[in-house]
Symmetry: C2
Subunit: 664 residues, 2 copies
């Protein structure tokens, strides 16, 4: 105890590496300079206890909120003092695992003003918001409505007499519910509401509403605010609810870039704004990189712990074996690691495509929008689905200790699982992808050429021959892509044909669409796996690395491809992308790859280079001192500050004493 | 608000039921009288706020512990006053969702004395323990060791001079870590330690150790105790750690039924105790029924909520549709519901077999032990694996609200997930099953008849013809069992042959076993699916129900069988249990069954008859008033008791004010 030595069981792991982890660290950071900058920021931040994250597990929500607010305010002071670039700010937020109280102000409120306000409104609000005088959030979701925006119930009714808009949440189901930083932090919100003029609905629009007094932060008249209560994770965020009861705002507080309301009550709309879609896509692309961070953190903790945990033995009579030496443990952890790496490279490809689209859109070309929408929606849904699943596998691979919050992994899982729900619930997203695919396959079947992610739809299926002709072919990741492609094609085709049949048979659209809803999700998933594999391969090909690093990255990419074919083998057999012989080869290769990756496993997670404080995992620190740190963490539990709990005197003592007396 | 009307969207669901839910309720409870008794106990318990469970989400661990202790003490007073039968006590613990502080005393401490102590020791300890003068736990797991008992590091060294045993946890990794109720509640523990006599190790044995003073509950000399810290769930339980530093106990405190230590230091062992195995099996059988409770609670909350949540529409222009009407939602929830029902019937079969084995063992016949061990281990592992997975699907199907702890489902998931780890980590259990299967297939291949769960190993594979010859055959659950059987047989055979090959090729056992570890897990899983399906079918056949109830239960059983074939289709195709045509029929049938179960969905969860207080789910109550209850729960959050958080005055105010000043 108290020593700072490296656990020899993890030290020995670092001697078997076949590549230099620093090379990959630079790749992840975006260059050597960015790594240096990150380390500089980490050093500065973590020298201040306000930025330390790991002691939060015993705090009440109010204490946690207070500590997070202290961190947030300090952070934005530093940002101003040190004049951080946007890139620096992003880095800092990653370093503190996004644990601050004003995230919506930056991620939603400021961008929404930029996007939705007129120039005059921007001049009015942006300076105040940038100086944190206005602190805002974006209030859209209601207690009774999330996905279907058209049915939101909040109203903004124009009162011509006073030139004001009157906002109301008419029913309990209409109250705003979930917006981050709404409950306690924000003094302003952009509220999404139905504009009503002369008893006519004029669509959903954004309105700037003051929530709290600038003098003492108390709620404004007609406004009732609070937090929505304890969550499974992320309790540092004051996700809130908002009642609006005849709240009056000037007409000029409607954000009027895309639609205007005149003094006389005339409503003008300039139509849907493509920039809104671009923002939605941006967030989905961002989620792919958060997913990379979350899964690779969980893999880091689990793999490091598995290198110091010993249990039973593979060679009777010898010392207990490291659990990482068991094939079953490798089977849990290495596909998770490969999936984490996949998220990085997929995000890289997706992000580049997104940037290219933005440039095109600036010159008026929005042709890439539909594909980018389907692509980003699909990757967000697939990557979050598989990553959250693998994170839970990592957590359970740590046995009982993975259930302790000090292990960090349970908080990682609970913190990541909402990614499947937010910014487009995954099933809803798969259905959006499916809609795009149905259109594309219809094009392809009528002889039009499809391109990009659906280029494969031009395939002539009859000429397909499985590219895996001998076991060695299975290491060719391009061949694996072909299998994914074939599976996607056949699955899409089958569903499209079923829809066509149902349509032609005269069934009602509502009926046949619902009868095929799950097959539509399944076909979108098949497509997304193909895109993910293709993007991983392409992303990997696009980077410059030394041969030893390339070799191990290729193995991870191959494992990713093989693992999901083997796991979902039914789909590949059903679509005749391969036969039983190929399946057998792939099953053998999967186990072979586990053994090949084994010597590099700890170094592959070291390369991700999470700062111990960022990781906040007692079992996953660089030094491998899992037991010491678990014990130290337990000692901080408030119940361990006294020998005897008050509950003894209040209840237990009497039970014990009565037992003693009844003996007499 | 404040009204107690039933939400009409859930009321209408109860009008479409095709069977009487009360009939199934009686089945689950074990008869009409047991249902009446449960309702009587629920009424009595929940009239006392000490038994109410739902306000725990805002309590600190110390507050939660205190409330739980108050409940526990009250409970055991009632037990004594009202002279509850063991059956009543079990029922009460189920009603309060096992949320009490002395569970290990009943589930481990008392049974361990019964099983491991001599008659003389029983006379000494049992009366004290039954009167709650001694409150105990069972301390086995250490910080560094769980599964491999042989390597536990705690020692009990015999000191002949004083006729005492000296207990020590020599290293940090040796401290006892995890035992329930150890940290703060227990004043005694049965400690597992290596007996050391004359510097010789004499194996692991149980020792009765006093932990705390009977006068003031402070730790005894040489003992250091505490809780292990915040967990992902179950924080009402004071899972603890224990250091033993030269703790002296009389020699007579070694529990000596199965091994004795004489005054002269002579060690005598009567060999392994089969009753110990029976106890281990008992706990695994029990976990199957807890799994039933946990999954069916999650399904109840999710299905009820899905009947009152409306979102988007299936028929354009009409009212928003209930989310339960979407095929995708049914696909998430109904297989979960069917799996919950499966757990009930599987437990029923398993429990009857276990009771029969106990009777045999009393007359000296322990022949059934190896199969029961494999059977119970396999069902524990498979049912917890699939149930926890389905519970998380249920939780996510509730969108954002499923992330709120008030929804209850997040606590259900976090509370159930350790079932995969405790009482035999699932991977370890699958490997135990695999070992049994390897022995059995070797028998079968050498012409000996295998019986019971492995009877299928006598199969003549060449004469297998897929029993599904037309779509209608897929509803025959016995046919489905044959497919599961064929898949299990082929998978077991393949691995056994691989092991045989490796063995004959002269590879070291340690090497070839580890090279086949994951295939061994896979083959055990295949076997367990078959046993689960067979047990579900047999359990269902064994009960007397009316034709309408039988019809809907048959559908659930069929859905269970079909769902896992379709989900794991690769394994069934690979083992040639079916072909692509059969897969297609089964895929169609699965969707068809969702539609058929739809009208009964809410009634099928009503039949489980969870008391609202037991369920503790704001979104899952019988009345369907999800939004009202979510809002009411949020109002209880301590942060909502004031308009402005202290963090405003401490931090935020300055940030806002500085912003305002910099404007001047």
């Amino acid at each position: 105890m108290g020593s700072t030595a490296i656990n020899p069981d993890i030290a020995s792991e670092r001697l078997t590496a076949t590549f230099d982890p620093l090379e990959l660290t630079h790749l992840f950071d975006g260059g050597k300079e960015r790594t240096a900058r990150r380390k500089e920021l980490e050093k500065m931040l973590f020298s201040d206890p306000v930025f330390c994250l790991r002691d939060s597990i015993y705090q009440s929500n109010s204490e946690l909120y207070s500590a997070t607010m202290a961190r947030s305010v300090k952070l934005f002071r530093l940002q101003q003092e040190q004049n951080w670039s946007d890139e620096d700010l992003m880095l800092v937020l990653r370093i503190i695992r996004e644990q601050h109280c004003l995230s919506l102000h930056h991620s939603m409120f400021l961008p929404a003003i930029e996007r939705l306000a007129t120039e005059e409104q921007k001049e009015r609000w942006l300076p105040l918001a940038r100086r944190y005088q206005m602190i805002g959030t974006y209030a859209q979701t209601e207690l009774g409505h999330g996905t279907n925006l058209m049915e939101l119930e909040t109203t903004a009714t124009y009162d011509k007499a006073t030139d004001e808009l009157v906002l109301n949440t008419p029913k309990l189901s209409s109250i705003k519910w979930w917006p981050g930083n709404l409950g306690k932090s924000s003094n302003y919100a952009i509220v999404l509401a139905h504009l009503v003029v002369d008893n006519k609905r004029c669509g959903m629009h954004p309105f700037m509403v003051q929530l709290r007094s600038m003098v003492d932060h108390t709620p404004m008249p007609g406004i009732k605010l609070g937090v929505i209560g304890q969550k499974m994770g992320g309790n540092f965020n004051d996700n809130g609810f908002l009642f609006l009861n005849n709240v009056r705002i000037p007409r000029e507080n409607m954000l009027m870039k895309n639609a205007q309301l005149t003094r006389t009550g005339k409503f003008l709309s300039s139509g849907p704004n493509k920039a809104n879609y671009a923002t939605m896509i941006y967030v989905r692309v961002m989620i792919c990189t958060w997913t990379f961070g979350a899964l690779s953190a969980a893999a880091t903790a689990a793999i490091r712990y598995s290198s110091v945990r010993r249990q039973s033995t593979l060679s009777p009579g010898k010392q207990e074996s490291k659990v990482l030496d068991y094939q079953t443990q490798q089977y849990k952890l290495f596909p998770a690691l490969a999936t984490g790496y996949a998220c990085f490279f997929i995000h890289k490809v997706l992000s580049a495509k997104y940037q290219a689209m933005l440039i095109d859109m600036k010159s008026g070309n929005a042709k890439a929008l539909p594909e980018m929408h389907a692509w980003s929606s699909g990757m967000k849904a697939l990557l979050t689905d598989i990553a959250i699943y693998k994170m839970e596998i990592c957590r359970r691979s740590c046995g009982g200790h993975g259930y302790l919050r000090a292990s960090g992994i349970s908080d990682m899982v609970c913190g990541a699982t909402p990614l499947a729900t937010v910014e487009g619930e995954n099933t809803v997203l798969y259905l959006q992808v499916a809609r795009y695919l149905v259109k594309q396959i219809a094009k392809a079947l009528t002889g039009q050429r499809t391109t990009g992610t659906t280029e494969y739809m031009n395939m002539n299926e009859t000429s397909y021959i499985c590219p895996l002709q001998k076991p060695g072919d299975c290491r060719n990741v391009d061949f694996l892509c072909e299998l994914y492609q074939k599976r996607a094609y056949r699955t899409v085709l089958k569903v499209a044909q079923a829809l066509q049949r149902d349509m032609e048979s005269g069934k009602e659209e509502a009926v046949y669409m619902n009868n095929n809803l799950q097959p539509l999700v399944r076909m979108a998933t098949a497509h997304c796996y193909y895109v993910a594999m293709r993007n991983f391969v392409d992303g990997l090909a696009s980077v410059q690395v030394s041969p030893p690093a390339r070799k191990v990255l290729d193995k991870l990419c191959c494992l990713f491809g093989v693992h999901y074919i083997v796991t979902l083998s039914g789909d590949f057999l059903e679509s005749e992308a391969m036969g039983l012989e190929q399946l057998h080869w792939l099953q053998e290769l999967e186990l072979q790859l586990l053994a090949e990756i084994r010597p590099d496993a700890v170094t592959l997670v070291d390369a991700l280079d999470f700062h111990d404080e960022t990781l906040s995992s007692a079992i996953g620190c660089y030094d491998g001192r899992a037991y010491e740190r678990l014990y130290e963490a337990a000692l901080k539990e408030p119940m361990n500050q006294t020998e005897v709990e008050p509950a003894y005197d209040m209840y237990l003592k009497k039970l014990i004493m009565e037992g003693a007396q009844s003996k007499l």
